[in-house]
């Protein structure tokens, strides 16, 4: 059974049920039941029309649930009102679900969970495993999210920026458990790009592809982080890079720049360099300037200081850093790196150790510890 195909049908099946009169929360529950049933019975006998099968099973589940709630009159009305099965407006249904699941009334964690279930077709258990919380907790989060959006009309167009933020969050979570969230985010962004022609959707897709292309090179066999400059570039996925660059170029040619296109442009410049030394840092600084103008984010300014350090030397980088708030995440790590490049190894070692102390994830902490250790033990190892 192709689970990806199965899951890709989720939003359009929910759309069919909603058009037949089910409310979103009940439709989503019924489709989740149908998906679990499909996972159980399809391996033994896959249906000829997978979507038709899912619609039938989900609709029956929905009617059962309605019956169980003793809403008999309402059910009969619904059955009477049931339209003849016809061609479904799949792209529209899917798009509406993206907007609903990323609705601004939802917290980011709820929007992520609801998107993965109703658009991604993942089971509650899979989502719970991916985010390392108990299944009952995730079920509750999803159920509350559905109550929050219960009054939202499915026919209202939303702001695509909220959808992109949710997909970006899913991608950035990487992967844990048996669900690869990065790959899932790419699949959902591809599906969105197919349903909604927008340069920033394309920009986000390009950004994800370009980062995903480096994944194999980013960690050592023992799990240690490998920084960009030290990665084995032959392990980058050239097919993903080519696709990302092509999508980005098409988006940029429309002359409606946004933050994801600018970030993707920076990732593309890194991908384009055969060696770290050949990186076009001057252009990267220019893209950071564009990005800073678009977002005014302190994290962007911090990354810009790193790029300035590469383009114009570590002293220029430190000057750019001096204008920023030292309490920014990774400020100390950047400062350590730039100090080391100026040759001030004592200060760099101290700053690396301090940065390790402040790190917010284990892989980064271990990486920074090794940097401090390298400088502290150089010459007597």
């Amino acid at each position: 059974m192709n689970e990806t195909l199965l899951r890709s049908l989720t939003p359009s099946v929910i759309g069919v049920l909603v058009r037949r009169g089910a409310d979103f929360a009940a439709a989503e529950d019924a489709v989740q039941d149908a998906l679990l049933e499909a996972i159980r019975v399809w391996p033994a006998g896959p249906p000829r029309d997978p979507k038709g099968w899912l619609v039938t099973v989900a609709w029956n589940r929905f009617l059962d649930a309605t019956r169980a709630e003793a809403a008999r009159r309402r059910r009969e009305d619904l059955v009477d009102a049931q339209p003849a099965p016809g061609p479904a407006a799949t792209a529209d249904d899917t798009l509406q679900l993206y907007f609903l699941c990323a609705h601004p009334s939802l917290t980011p964690a709820s929007a992520v969970a609801l998107t993965l279930r109703a658009v991604g077709g993942l089971t509650t258990r899979q989502i719970a495993q991916a985010y390392l919380v108990p299944e009952a907790t995730m079920a509750q989060r999803i159920s509350r999210a559905k109550k929050t959006v219960a009054g939202v009309r499915l026919d209202q167009p939303g702001d695509v920026a909220t959808v992109l933020r949710v997909l970006y969050l899913v991608f950035n979570e990487g992967y844990s458990g048996d669900v690869d969230l990065a790959a899932e985010a790419i699949r959902l962004t591809r599906q969105l790009a197919a349903a909604y022609d927008h340069p920033e959707v394309a920009g986000l897709l390009a950004l994800m592809l370009l980062h995903h292309a480096r994944r194999a090179a980013r960690t050592a066999p023992d799990g240690a982080l490998i920084p960009l400059a030290e990665q084995d570039r032959t392990r980058w996925d050239t097919a993903l890079i080519a696709e990302g660059v092509q999508i980005l170029q098409t988006a940029l040619s429309r002359d409606r720049l946004g933050e994801f296109q600018a970030q993707a442009a920076i990732a593309a410049l890194h991908a384009d360099a055969p060696t770290a030394a050949e990186t076009d840092w001057i252009q990267i600084v220019e893209w950071y300037d564009e990005l800073a103008a678009l977002t005014d984010s302190p994290v962007v300014r911090l990354n810009r200081a790193v790029a300035v350090g590469e383009a114009d030397g570590p002293h220029a980088g430190l000057a750019a850093l001096a204008a920023l708030d030292p309490s920014l995440p990774r400020y100390t790590a950047v400062s350590a790196y730039l100090r080391e490049r100026t040759g001030d190894l004592t200060a760099a070692a101290r700053l690396y150790a301090e940065a390790a102390y402040q790190a917010t994830n284990a892989a980064e902490r271990d990486h920074l510890l090794r940097q401090a250790a390298r400088l502290n033990t150089d010459g007597h190892t």
């Binding site: 240690a224 917010t360 250790a373 390298r374 033990t377 190892t381």
Partner: protein, 135 residues
């Protein structure tokens, strides 16, 4: 089966035998230490004794209720003298002896010079559920 918490401290435990701060080790020694910890957890998963393991950041603060309608009081960052937990592993084992044996292995993780750290770990039994048969 009984669950035990193995607690590792940043501060507050008696001094380890091989007591050198991690940033004064070589990078290879840091890597060897991390590998030892990961392998240890993986081995316990295979024996069916691993429940959970988490690492904590050294930052944090004290928080307490300050009365109706008032925001909680916070006090922090922690004083230099405070006990500071670095992380934990929860194991589900047959006996206290097995818990002690595993804690001993964990304490043998290599540190400076590739030699075991001999660090002190806290081993704490969980309070159990009420058994069905009590008479």
């Amino acid at each position: 089966m009984a669950k035990y918490l193995l607690l590792k401290h940043y501060r507050g435990a008696p001094a380890a035998v091989n007591d050198v701060p991690m940033d004064k080790w070589t990078p290879e020694e840091v890597s060897a230490h991390i590998k030892y910890m990961n392998d240890f957890a993986a081995r316990l998963e295979e024996t069916g004794e691993f429940v959970d393991g988490q690492a904590l950041a050294p930052q944090g603060e004290w928080v307490r209720y300050d009365g109706e309608g008032r925001p909680p009081v916070t006090d922090g960052p922690f004083a230099e003298t405070k006990d500071l937990i670095a992380g934990w592993m929860i194991i589900d084992v047959d006996s206290r002896d097995r818990a002690v044996e595993l804690a001993g292995e964990l304490s043998a993780a290599p540190g400076a010079g590739g030699k075991p750290i001999h660090e002190w770990l806290e081993v704490r039994p969980f309070l159990t559920e009420t058994p069905t048969i009590v008479e």
